[in-house]
């Protein structure tokens, strides 16, 4: 599964993304260096402290919502076209709003650098989150 970004949420599969050491090796920089440090910071910004969707649902929300899909829709406000791609119980997610340092703006300044980063991590699908979605209130 490619990493999916919807608004400030990042959904990903660890198997596709791989470890930070692997990413540093692919970039061709030394681990203990400024360049290595920067890559680690960017990696941890997007993937650090990730939460397993299925486990979170099972542990805290299974009485409230009938299934994971409903939970993702109502609690996180994720639309159907994104939800249907979140298959399997190994999907992790990160809410970038909960990160202290906002690396997003400075990193997203340059398309080439951004594309290199995401291509090394198996690709990114950016979902348009500019529309207000009401579907969750219909049920």
């Amino acid at each position: 599964m490619k990493t999916i970004r919807y608004d400030r949420f990042i959904f990903f599969d660890m198997k596709t993304v791989g470890s930070v050491r692997k990413l540093i090796r692919r970039f061709g920089v030394r681990y203990k260096s400024y360049a290595g440090e920067v890559i680690q910071r960017i990696y941890h910004f997007y993937f650090g402290d990730a939460i397993n969707l299925y486990k979170e649902y099972k542990r805290f929300y299974k009485n409230e919502f009938e299934n994971v899909d409903k939970y993702v829709e109502c609690r996180l406000g994720i639309p159907e076209e994104v939800r249907k791609r979140l298959i399997g119980n190994r999907i992790l997610y990160v809410n970038l709003d909960e990160k202290g340092e906002d690396l997003d703006n400075s990193f997203y300044y340059d398309d080439e650098l951004k594309n290199t980063f995401w291509n090394l991590l198996g690709g990114l699908e950016n979902e348009d989150s500019s529309r207000i979605r009401y579907e969750q209130f219909f049920d």
Partner: protein, 132 residues
């Protein structure tokens, strides 16, 4: 090598201080910043290093320095930088002051908005003076 990472500042310029045993070149910086020869971002990385080297010709932003001394370094970059300058000066280290801007190359832009310090036995880089 010790790296002290600060935070991303969104600054439009970063004043930096480099103290180096070797004369500063883009290739030397390339290796000191941790890029390998086969790096997939070697072009951008070399551009960053070249921008830093070129930045040493522009001097500092908002500061006029006629003579470089510990007091001025302490004022701009802090006590630690002044102490390292004091320790390395008798050893014949080269001292460079300069600035990078956020409208240069992609990595240079990131470098400019970042606030950090690299401390090695033969190299010291302080890029913590982020200004607008």
């Amino acid at each position: 090598m010790k790296i002290r990472v600060g935070f991303v500042t969104n600054s439009s310029s970063t004043n930096f201080l480099i103290l180096s045993k070797k004369e500063l070149t883009a290739e030397f910086l390339y290796s000191k910043l941790g890029f390998k020869r086969n790096s997939i971002i070697c072009d951008q990385a070399l551009q960053l290093c070249q921008d830093i080297v070129n930045g040493t010709c522009d001097g500092l932003r908002w500061y006029d320095i006629e003579t470089l001394n510990e007091e001025r370094i302490e004022e701009i970059f802090g006590k630690k930088a002044a102490r390292i300058y004091h320790d390395t000066k008798p050893k014949g280290f080269y001292a460079y002051l300069g600035r990078t801007g956020s409208d240069e190359g992609s990595l240079t832009c990131f470098f400019t908005t970042d606030s950090f310090e690299i401390s090695d036995k033969d190299f010291y880089l302080n890029a913590r003076n982020c200004v607008w």
